[in-house]
Symmetry: C2
Subunit: 333 residues, 2 copies
């Protein structure tokens, strides 16, 4: 294992310390329990939005904390769910009196712990709603999931719900928007190589020299099939077919399109992936109205990528365009 | 070689096509000759700023084209200098009548071709000045370089000169600023693994299982020494010592600090690197006034990182804070 770390057990904490130091203009970190919260929280009268999950997927979620997006994020250890006490403390820290929305990726531990935290918060008089994201079309059940896994659509839901909260939408309306985004978003990923969990010290799965894992999960969970590496044109066609056919997306649709790297794949390759995706969309008369290409939801140092498409209407596009100021997404401010 | 590509010879062109499609709101691409240029070029009365170099270092330089930074960028094939005709065409495309500054990294081919392009442009009546960036403290001469290599300070020079040009500074003043940035910026990098040039199909150099290359160049050029992997604390101390001692930086200095990934290293590790760097700076009473942590100047899929420090005064910080709207850096707009 070759990583830029001190000890395997220090990774989450030290990375978070560096992150908080680098972005002290936008957010601050708590370490007992662990969460990051926007510097001006709680914002009085605004619905709070929090998310969380295992570390190793950066910039998700901490990188999306800031004005116009998340109020707080709870990172667990690498690939490990955060605990209810983290979520409870973060919820309390961002409650401005208008309630708090939990955006939860569909993994058993995350869902269970966020449910427990929501109950604790409600017992303390904070109104809490939840949206569970389950957008990964690759497989129905998976290693850590009943039903579909939650992946890239989470990023888009955090942006759009964050904008709505900033505009002053109430909790019911922000929650409904989160569900709408989940209903209209679909994703799928693939891996060229396996990522290495620091504490394990070796790659999370075996992937033969010339093979790829199509439909891989962000913790290295198995996907639809293992296949020999092909030209990127064929790989993107496979992913796009699965994603487009699932909703289904149709000619005339407008989409927000995201190509996210898995952590070990450089920008030069991600833009080739985006090119293939846009060619497919054009052929089907689907318009990529907004685009993100880069590392947004990663899997440690895994090489590979994922595509996410969100069918967008005027409301979603307008909220997407609202100003945002976070470490990983910023415009208009 | 496992990469998300079609053919090795299509990489530069297809990546650029995807890049131009993803960022059509900010820039447009020309393919004969190849360059990217901000959508509203030329800006009348404004000094134009262009840069260029081999592909494989994305987002540098194309990712820095846009309002408040570069007017155009000329990408060569992977790790190959762009040609004078690209630079000449890009210079003509951005000339708004106030002259054009070429920001050039110190590699023999880049320097030679930019000089040739400058002569051609001057013969056509366009005023051209150049700033050569040579900030890499690792080694004096290198595989493709007489003198020091140009690396991370290039990104900072492009931002600061871009802001100055946007403010209406004349060519002499923008050029002087570029030289000032180069004079006050220092960098050093290291590699955990070698990157693979697509057309070569195998890693650019051999790096034994447990070894790293300290002081590596962005094309995999040898650095100061090959050493066994150590805790990141020791690696950053080595790099920081070399960088800080060279200017030298002193207690009381303010700096713009950048930690750039080499392409294959994920954000979770880069923030651990930043944490170590900030601890060292604090110990020496140097203030990190502004920070960038992410993939800014990469070396294909190489795992590793580089640190850049720029000693900054009020003028440089003020220009740094000016609005910028490019694919890779954006704020205030």
């Amino acid at each position: 294992m070759k990583k830029l770390i001190n000890g395997p057990l220090d990774v989450m904490r030290e990375s978070l310390e560096g992150f908080a130091a680098a972005h002290s203009d936008i957010l601050k970190a708590s370490f007992d329990p662990v969460y990051v919260v926007r510097a001006d929280a709680p914002v009085k009268g605004k619905v709070g939005i929090i998310s969380g999950g295992g570390s190793g997927h950066e910039p998700m979620h901490g990188g999306f904390v800031g004005k116009g997006m998340l109020d707080a994020a709870c990172p667990g250890q690498v690939f490990t769910s955060p605990s209810p006490d983290q979520m409870e403390a973060a919820t309390a820290a961002v409650d401005g009196g208008a309630g708090v929305l939990h955006i939860v990726k569909n993994y058993t531990g995350d869902v269970m712990n966020f449910e427990m935290a929501a109950e604790l918060c409600q017992a303390n008089g904070i109104q809490v709603e939840s949206v569970v994201i389950n957008d990964d079309v690759a497989v129905k059940d998976s290693l850590y999931t009943a039903g579909r896994r939650g992946v890239g659509t989470t990023v888009l839901a955090e942006k759009i719900c964050g904008a709505a909260a900033e505009r002053g939408y109430d909790l019911a309306r922000v929650t409904a928007l989160g569900k709408k985004v989940n209903d209209h978003g679909r994703s799928m990923g693939m891996a060229l190589t396996a990522g290495t969990v620091p504490a394990a010290g070796k790659p999370g799965f075996e992937l033969g020299g010339g093979d790829i894992e199509m439909g891989v999960g962000i913790h290295g969970e198995p996907g639809r099939e293992r296949m020999p590496l092909k030209p990127v044109k064929d790989l993107v066609a496979y992913m796009a077919e699965a994603v487009l056919g699932d909703l289904p997306f149709r000619g005339g649709d407008r989409v927000i399109a995201m190509v996210s790297g898995m952590g070990g794949t450089p920008p030069i390759e991600l833009y080739i992936v985006y090119r293939e995706l846009e060619l497919i969309l054009r052929e089907r008369k689907i318009t990529a109205s907004r685009r993100l290409v880069g590392n947004y939801i990663t899997s440690l140092d895994m090489a590979g990528c994922a595509i996410t498409l969100l069918k967008a209407d005027d409301e979603l596009l307008s909220l997407w365009d609202d100003p945002v100021l976070t470490p990983a997404l910023r415009w208009g401010i």
